[in-house]
Every structure is written in C-alpha cells, then in structure tokens.
C-alpha cells in the first residue's frame, strides 16, 4: 500500500469513502457555493472491487491516493458511473486508463453520454431491475431519468444495505465531517433546500413519483450516500431528508415573500422597499434582494421558499434591465409552482421593464392578482403608497392561500 497524505474513510463493512472536498469552489456552473462542495466516491472491497462514481477531474489523483490507502487501485474490477455530469465523471477517463477495470457500468443513456464526453469507454449499459453480483453482495440499479439528467441512476448494494444516490439528497457543503448527524440541522436544511431549488426543482413531479415508488422497491436502506456533501447513516436522518424532499417537491405556498429588484438610479429600489413594507405590515416575512448584490442561485433559493415573489426592474434601452432578464430566465427554467407574483419598475419614457417582467411571470404560470406598477423617473408619494398597499393586499391573499 502506497503512503500518501490522503486516507480513505471506512463507512461500512465493505465500503470506503474515497472522494474529495472542494473547499474553495464558489462558482459551480453559476451556483454560488459559499460553503464549497465535495465529490463523494466510494470503494467497495468485495470479491469484485468496485468504484462507485468518480470525482471532478482535478481531484482524480487525490481519489486514487485514497483508494491506494486501502487497496492497490489496479485491483479495481468494476466501475459504476451513476451520473455522467463532469463533477462525477471528469476523473473517469484517467481512472479507467490507470486501473484498466474489467467493466464499467452506467445507465443506457449514461453509456451514450460518457461516450459523447470522453470517447468510447466500453461502458456496459444497465437498467432498472438489473443486478450484478460482486461477491458477498449484489449491486442493483434503479434508473432515475431526469433526476437530474437523462443518464441519472442510483445503485443499491445489498450486502451493506447502502444506497448510492448520486446527486439526490446531496448538497454543496465541504467539510471534514462525513455524516449528516455531525452537522447542525438548520445548516443542512438550508443547503439541501438550496440544492433542490437550483438543481432539481424543475423535476419536482418526478421526485414525488420516485418517493412514492421507493417503498415498493423493497430496499432495506441503512445509509444513503449522495455524491455531494454529508451522508445519511441513521434511520432518523434518512426519514428526515426524504420528508424534506417531499416538502421541497410539493412546493406548497409558504407565508413568506421575496422582493427581488434591479435598480439604476434607485427609483425601483424605493418601490421595492415600499412594497416590502406593505408585505411586512400584513405580518408576512419578507426578504429584499438587490440583484446587483445577490447571485441568481440565492434568489432562486428564496423563490422556492416564498409563496409571494415580486420582481422589479427599470427599463433600459426599451428592455427590462438585463440583470432581471438573467434572473427570470434562470427562475423560469426551474419551474417554481404555486406562486403569487407581482411586477413593478420605474422607467424614463417607454416603460417595458415591468410589462416584460409581468409577461415572464405569466409564462411561468405565476398568478398575478394585481396589475404591474410602472412609474416614471421617481415615484411620487402617492405611487409609493399605492405600491405599499399593493404589497399588503398580496400578503393578505397569500395568508389566505396558505390556510
């Protein structure tokens, strides 16, 4: 066994964690990862030595060093790739070249996707219902198509009763502690919520279907091992994260409001503040965010958690201010459901800003009980009162809706 600084963490009789923490990543394809992330990979030392998932390319050597602390990496017989996205597959070509595994498994679509990324890797496609024996236990595969990529699948190892759940039930959170029970619950809830909102929300109906079908699969799951962040090893924690996922996916309205705005000369900012005051006066919690200071993934986290979403932007060059177009494009793709919405903005002359926001909200299926408010140059005292009152009325409607 080769001595390096990187060790593996034993997680069950046959399984070691051999992943990597990415402490300083702050921009994960545009998702603000303010606590870093991690790429979990797993080594099963059974008759067939199996590597489950890999890591982002720059961490490949670290992963192989962790493997080497347990067993000579060339002893790896099988590799399972649950998800082809490069944060988990980036290291695969190098690993395959180094260990020359007997077989590499991925879903039918995963085999195609890996070939598209890296050229032919001779992947053996597997699908729901397929199992392979690796000695004392079997690996069973379950397709989780579009959760969150077409290729996604999960793998169950019956000897140790572990579910390797790839991105599902994970979060972007770097840490030296491996287990969810070693972290503060409110931190886990926030990061899991942010992850779901930004990565999985658009597939919420499929999440509900999967959660409903889970008991029918008859799997005795003692640990859930996602590809990012802390892992779940107690029945209590597993039940907790499953129920959180149901809650995130159901998207029931919450008595909470987000007011997100862009502003040039602060007129829209003043409108936003007046609207928020109205919401607050109705006893509804409200969060105010200037898009110049808040990234889109943080905005989306608030969107997911709020029953009322108000967006305001000035008009620039006969268009809504570009930062708002960016945010709305992103939010729309993630398909938030059951929202009350409101559009507003200031303009100099033509006034497309609020109108375009309102049209985008309409296209998202967001209910807008109040017509958008557009003011010229600087809001008057009457206009400020009007938008505050509008905030109050919408907050009251939200409270009704949440009953």
């Amino acid at each position: 066994m080769k001595e390096t600084v990187f060790g593996a963490v034993r997680i069950s009789e046959h399984v070691w964690w051999v992943g990597a923490a990415d402490w300083n990543v702050r921009n994960f394809h545009g998702y603000l990862t303010d606590r870093g992330s991690s790429y979990n990979a797993f080594l099963i030392v059974d008759e067939k030595v199996t590597l489950i998932d890999a890591v982002k390319a720059p961490f490949t050597k670290e992963m192989l060093d962790r493997v080497a602390s347990v067993i000579d990496p060339e002893k790896i017989d099988y590799i399972v790739s649950n998800h082809s996205e490069p944060d988990h597959s980036g290291g695969l070509p190098e690993v395959i070249a180094a260990v020359k595994p007997e077989k590499v498994f991925a879903s039918v679509i995963g085999a195609k996707t890996l070939a598209a990324y890296y050229g032919e890797l001779n992947v053996t496609p597997v699908k729901t219902g397929d199992t392979i024996s690796i000695g004392s236990g079997n690996l069973a595969f379950v397709d989780t198509k579009m959760l969150h990529w077409p290729d996604s699948m999960v793998t169950y190892y019956d000897a140790d009763k572990l579910l390797f759940s790839q991105d599902a039930f994970g979060m972007h959170l770097a840490g030296s502690m491996m287990w969810a029970d070693e972290y503060d619950k409110s931190l886990l809830e926030y990061e899991a919520r942010k992850y779901f909102a930004n990565i999985i929300n658009l597939q919420a109906p499929k999440v509900l279907a999967l959660l409903d079908s889970l008991p029918g699969l008859g799997l005795d799951i003692q640990m859930v091992l996602p590809d990012h962040g802390p892992m779940w090893r107690t029945q209590e924690d597993i039940a907790w994260i499953l129920s959180l996922y149901r809650d995130f996916a159901e998207q029931k309205p919450r008595p909470r409001a987000l007011v997100a705005y862009a502003t040039m000369w602060h007129s829209t900012g003043i409108l936003a503040t007046a609207f928020a005051e109205g919401v607050r006066s109705a006893g509804v919690e409200v969060h105010l965010a200037d898009l110049a200071e808040n990234d889109r993934s943080s905005i989306m986290t608030h969107v997911a958690y709020s029953g009322l979403i108000a967006f305001g932007a000035p008009t620039m060059n006969n268009q809504m201010f570009p930062a708002m177009a960016d945010t709305l494009c992103y939010v729309k793709g993630l398909k938030p459901q059951n929202k009350l919405g409101f559009a507003f903005g200031s303009c100099g002359w033509s006034g497309e800003g609020a109108k375009q926001i309102s049209a985008e909200l309409e296209a998202m299926g967001v209910e807008q009980p109040e017509k958008f408010i557009q003011v010229k140059y600087m809001p008057t005292a009457d206009e400020l009162t009007a938008i505050r009152d509008c905030g109050k009325r919408l907050a009251e409607q939200l409270l009704e809706k949440c009953k």
């Binding site: 039918v108 679509i109 198509k145 579009m146 077409p150």
Partner: protein, 53 residues
C-alpha cells in the same frame, strides 16, 4: 400509428395516449404534433425523435 422514441432520454411518444399534459389529444400521430412540441421529459424538439424499432 407509430411510436417515436426520444434519442436523448428514451421517452416514448405513443400516439394512442398523446401528451394530454401538454395539450396533445390521444390519437394524435407523431407527424401531426405541432412544430414547437418538445419531449415532456427532457425538453428536446421533434428532430431528436426516431421511430420505435
């Protein structure tokens, strides 16, 4: 009527069922789907579909 399969995600368009969630009535042949119809699972357009073998 022929079934069509999404090359990207494997979704099967079955004309007998249609795609009611997206306004496509049962009995609509693949050829008669509107040009902007897309895969209800992964979102790709009709060009990425092939007849089922």
């Amino acid at each position: 009527m022929k079934k069509y399969v999404c090359n990207i995600c494997g979704y099967v368009y079955d004309p007998e069922v249609g795609d009611p969630a997206n306004g496509i009535a049962a009995g609509t042949p693949f050829e008669e789907l509107p040009d902007d119809w897309c895969c209800p699972d992964c979102g790709v357009g009709k060009d990425d579909f092939a007849p089922e073998e």
